[in-house]
């Protein structure tokens, strides 16, 4: 019962992340999601054991505390407008999130997973979290939102791993977490440096760095 409530909460945070227009709110949502994800393995594992608890504490600290602080710090130092700047409008984003959820249910029903997993909700929600994260990466302009999308996607992968907890050692989860920690750390620093160098973290404008410059503004060369 408790598990299903948590899973539903996860789903709601997904939709919240897609629908919100403020960056700080988004960060908070991702933090909440991290806490929920962190509690999940303890509940699913059933009996009392040391490893799930250690991992839960670690996950909650990293995803619920450190990442949001790091991202908040980036947001502050980069001094960007606190708006999300979507490429896809908010209503359409919400519709997409719902469509993703339906698709995930269908996928979950097709997937023949080992029987021991808990409840019919976890796998579809994990799927939809992954895809929502990807959707956020694709549909938002700012580099910071992309980190958020990446985090949400990772949460989904983590939740999917939790669903298969009994088959798969928790150490793998730990590895994923460590990986992600480094990734977010690097991204945070990169965002800071990008904004210091270019006065913005808009990925659109960064396109100009590519070698594909339109012919009319390409510098003329000697013949």
């Amino acid at each position: 019962m408790l598990i299903n409530i948590l899973i539903t909460f996860l789903l709601i945070t997904n939709i919240g992340a897609v629908a919100s227009s403020r960056l700080t709110y988004c960060i908070k949502i991702v933090a909440a999601q991290g806490v929920v994800i962190g509690i999940l393995p303890c509940l699913i594992y059933g009996e009392f054991a040391l490893l799930p608890i250690v991992i839960a504490i670690f996950t909650i600290t990293v995803k619920g505390v450190i990442f949001p602080l790091l991202l908040g710090w980036s947001l502050k130092t980069a001094q960007v407008a606190r708006e999300v700047e979507p490429l896809v409008s908010y209503p359409f984003s919400i519709i997409t999130a719902v469509l993703i959820f339906i698709l995930s249910f269908w996928l979950g029903s097709r997937l023949s997973l080992p029987a021991s997993f808990c409840g019919y909700l976890l796998v579809p929600v994990a799927f939809s979290t992954i895809m929502t994260g990807l959707f956020l990466i694709v549909s938002r302009v700012k580099a910071l939102t992309q980190v958020l999308g990446y985090l949400i996607m990772e949460n989904g992968i983590y939740a999917f791993g939790v669903a298969l907890l009994r088959e798969q050692p928790l150490l793998v989860e730990l590895g994923v977490l460590l990986d992600m920690f480094v990734a977010v750390f690097v991204m945070g620093i990169a965002i800071f440096h990008i904004s210091r160098e270019f006065d913005h973290i808009d990925t659109h404008v960064l396109d100009n760095l590519s070698d594909r410059i339109p012919a009319d503004i390409r510098p003329t060369e000697e013949t």
């Binding site: 996928l107 990807l134 990466i137 992309q146 990925t203 590519s210 000697e222 013949t223």
Partner: protein
């Protein structure tokens, strides 16, 4: 074997050390060149020892990366290609020390030496490699390191463009080699060269396909027409020591590869020989015709390389025809001539490039039309260049003559054979070689007289001065070698024994007969040289004696009784060759623009003469334009927007999941 591995390691290590010393260009130059010279000296002595003692070494190497072994081996063929390689590496690296001095402030000298030594080491490695994969790895390193050398002066747009063309063309070539080795590996069950030759009966059904792939793949590197067009782009673009090394040695690795593969794929079909002969003939004639019309001295030399590669291919083609028709005379003369030409061309083409580079560096231009009269200012460069020019035109007593002579000789011996194909190809070889020789003599008369003789056509030519000692040393050394090779043939030709057995696979006695025949001929030729030398010395002494009593007056060149002679009164390079180029305009299609006004009082006119490569103009440029426009239609996919790239990945993943689960 140990000496070769030592030599390659010394060259390679010194390159890396030079790269680390990038901030001290003087030291980097010294270490890079010193390593190249030391390594080359060791390798050269070892190769000569191998040839003299007729040794063959094979060493099965350790397995690397699960796909190939690092097997190495050395036989007469490898040693024969290593000799010019090591000579040219040593000479051009010594030359390079001086040549690079003007670049100290603006270019990373250490990186130059890294790639230069890497090029040298990879060429030596591919010649001693005895495994298909190992060979290809060395081949790729050679192509890539030479690409970085070609683009050394990458601030010029033309250099970047030449680099790109070089890179693309060579990789298209290597694609054929990949296919070829993969096919051989599949049919023999192994990538070892020793297994290739052991299992030659297994390859037999596909030998023709292998021959075609080898001819294209190696022909691109060697510069056979119609794959030659990268040479005139890359060679002028590269710094001179590099263009000397590339033209003299690197393109020969294509010949080496072709000969090596021919030893694996069994008895030759007649059409292989005819194909190679035809390619050679066309390359030779077109190469020299295009060379005639050039204004850029290094580009001219590049076209001349195409011509000489053509002569080499003609020799191999005749050799294959001879093998097929069981005519050992034709086979041996053909192979011996082309192998000797590989060696000789390395010497004189290296020499000519070094000379041209010295002229270009001292005057600041490669355009022959604005040079002139620099013989008086650069006598050493002038004399060595003259020796190289005479050698490349095939004039006795220099080395260019002897190799062409062997091909002539073999062809003359076979024009009475009853086989039609042999008679036709022999006749074509004789007429073709005559034609090529005459045109290349005209071509180098043009170069030498326009650049070195006459009077200065511009201020650039006036400020010319002799280059530094090291550059002169390299040119003098090669010039001496050119003369020595030309007159010491009776000593050299008996050493071809083991080499010819490997290449032709003919019996001992036939080769011995051929060698003694060739030796007597060369001894006879040397007697003629001696007689001519005596006559000339006498004439010279006589002249001196006569002139001693008379007053000798010197006057400016082209004085000719005019009161105010001008440099513009001289022949230009284009006008010098105009009769020939007009005659062959149906091939050359050179653009000649002369706007003569029809007024009674003619205004100022300036005729222009532009050369072009018909293959570039009528085949490759339209082709690449077509490919480019096709590719540009897909440009919208590649727009540089990060989000949409990720969207591509997401969509792909989703489609795959749905496809798998649906």
């Amino acid at each position: 074997m140990f000496e070769f591995i030592l030599s390659v390691s010394i060259i390679f290590t010194s390159g890396i050390i030079a790269c680390l010393l990038n901030r001290h260009p003087g030291k980097a130059s010294f270490i890079g060149a010193a390593g190249a010279v030391t390594g080359s000296a060791i390798g050269l002595i070892a190769s000569i020892r191998i040839i003299l003692n007729d040794i063959t070494v094979y060493k099965k190497g350790i397995c690397a990366f699960n796909i190939g072994t690092l097997s190495t081996g050395i036989d007469q063929l490898s040693a024969f290609f290593l000799i010019p390689l090591f000579i040219l590496v040593a000479v051009s690296s010594v030359y390079g020390i001086q040549y690079l001095k003007p670049f100290y402030a603006k270019k990373p000298i250490g990186s130059f030496w890294l790639f230069f030594n890497l090029l040298a080491a990879s060429m030596a490695t591919l010649v001693i490699a005895r495994n298909g994969v190992f060979f290809l790895v060395a081949w790729e390193i050679m192509s890539l390191s030479s690409y970085f050398l070609v683009t050394f002066e990458d601030e010029h747009k033309s250099v970047r463009q030449a680099g790109i063309i070089y890179l693309i063309v060579n990789h298209i070539g290597v694609m054929f080699l990949f296919f070829m080795f993969a096919m051989m590996g599949k049919f023999c069950g192994s990538m070892e060269f020793s297994d290739f030759s052991a299992a030659s009966s297994a390859i037999l059904p596909v030998s023709s396909a292998l021959f075609i792939m080898a001819t294209i793949g190696f022909g691109v590197k060697a510069g056979f027409v119609p794959f030659h067009f990268w040479l005139p782009q890359a060679h002028p673009a590269a710094p001179t020591p590099v263009s000397a090394l590339m033209s003299a040695v690197m393109i020969k690795t294509g010949i080496y590869g072709l000969l090596r593969i021919l030893t694996f794929i069994g008895p030759p079909h007649l059409w292989w020989g005819i194909t190679l002969f035809g390619i050679g003939l066309i390359s030779g004639i077109l190469g020299v015709l295009f060379a005639l019309t050039q204004h850029d001295i290094k580009r001219l030399l590049a076209y001349c390389s195409v011509e000489n590669i053509g002569i080499i291919a003609m020799g191999i083609g005749l050799g294959l025809i001879g093998l097929n028709k069981k005519l050992p005379v034709l086979a041996l003369f053909g192979f011996a001539g082309s192998l000797l030409h590989v060696f000789n061309h390395a010497l004189f083409k290296g020499l000519l490039f070094l000379g041209a580079g010295a002229v270009a560096q001292q005057t600041g231009t490669r355009n022959m039309e604005i040079l002139g009269g620099i013989f008086k200012k650069m006598p050493v460069t002038g004399i060595t260049f003259l020796i190289g020019a005479a050698a490349i035109s095939g004039l006795p007593p220099l080395n260019g003559f002897v190799s062409e002579f062997l091909i002539y000789f073999g062809s003359f011996k076979c024009i009475t054979v009853s086989s039609l194909s042999v008679v036709v190809s022999s006749l074509l070889a004789i007429t073709g070689l005559t034609f090529i020789g005459a045109l290349s003599a005209a071509c180098f008369t043009k170069v030498f007289s326009i650049v070195f003789l006459g009077s200065e056509r511009s201020a650039l030519a006036e400020k010319a001065a002799e280059p530094g000692k090291m550059m002169r040393a390299g040119m003098v050394f090669l010039a001496v070698l050119c003369v020595l090779t030309g007159i010491s043939m009776p000593l050299i030709i008996p050493r071809f024994h083991g080499l010819l057995i490997e290449v032709s696979g003919l019996a001992f006695s036939e080769i011995d007969l051929f060698l003694s025949q060739a030796k007597t001929t060369f001894v006879f030729i040397n007697k003629i040289y001696a007689a001519i030398a005596v006559v000339f010395t006498c004439a010279f002494l006589l002249r001196k004696k006569i002139l001693a009593e008379k007053i000798v007056r010197t006057a400016p060149t082209w004085d000719c009784g005019y009161s105010h002679p001008s440099a513009k009164m001289q022949y230009t390079g284009s006008s010098f060759v105009q009769p020939i180029t007009d005659f062959f305009n149906f091939i050359l299609r050179a653009g000649k623009k002369t706007e003569l006004s029809s007024d009674i009082f003619p205004k100022k006119t300036s005729p222009r003469f532009e050369s072009q490569d018909i293959f570039m103009r009528y085949i490759y440029e339209p082709l690449s334009a077509k490919i480019y426009s096709l590719i540009m239609k897909l440009r919208w996919i590649q727009h540089g927007r990060l989000q949409v790239y990720i969207l591509y990945i997401v969509v792909t993943l989703l489609v795959l999941i749905i496809w798998k689960l649906g």
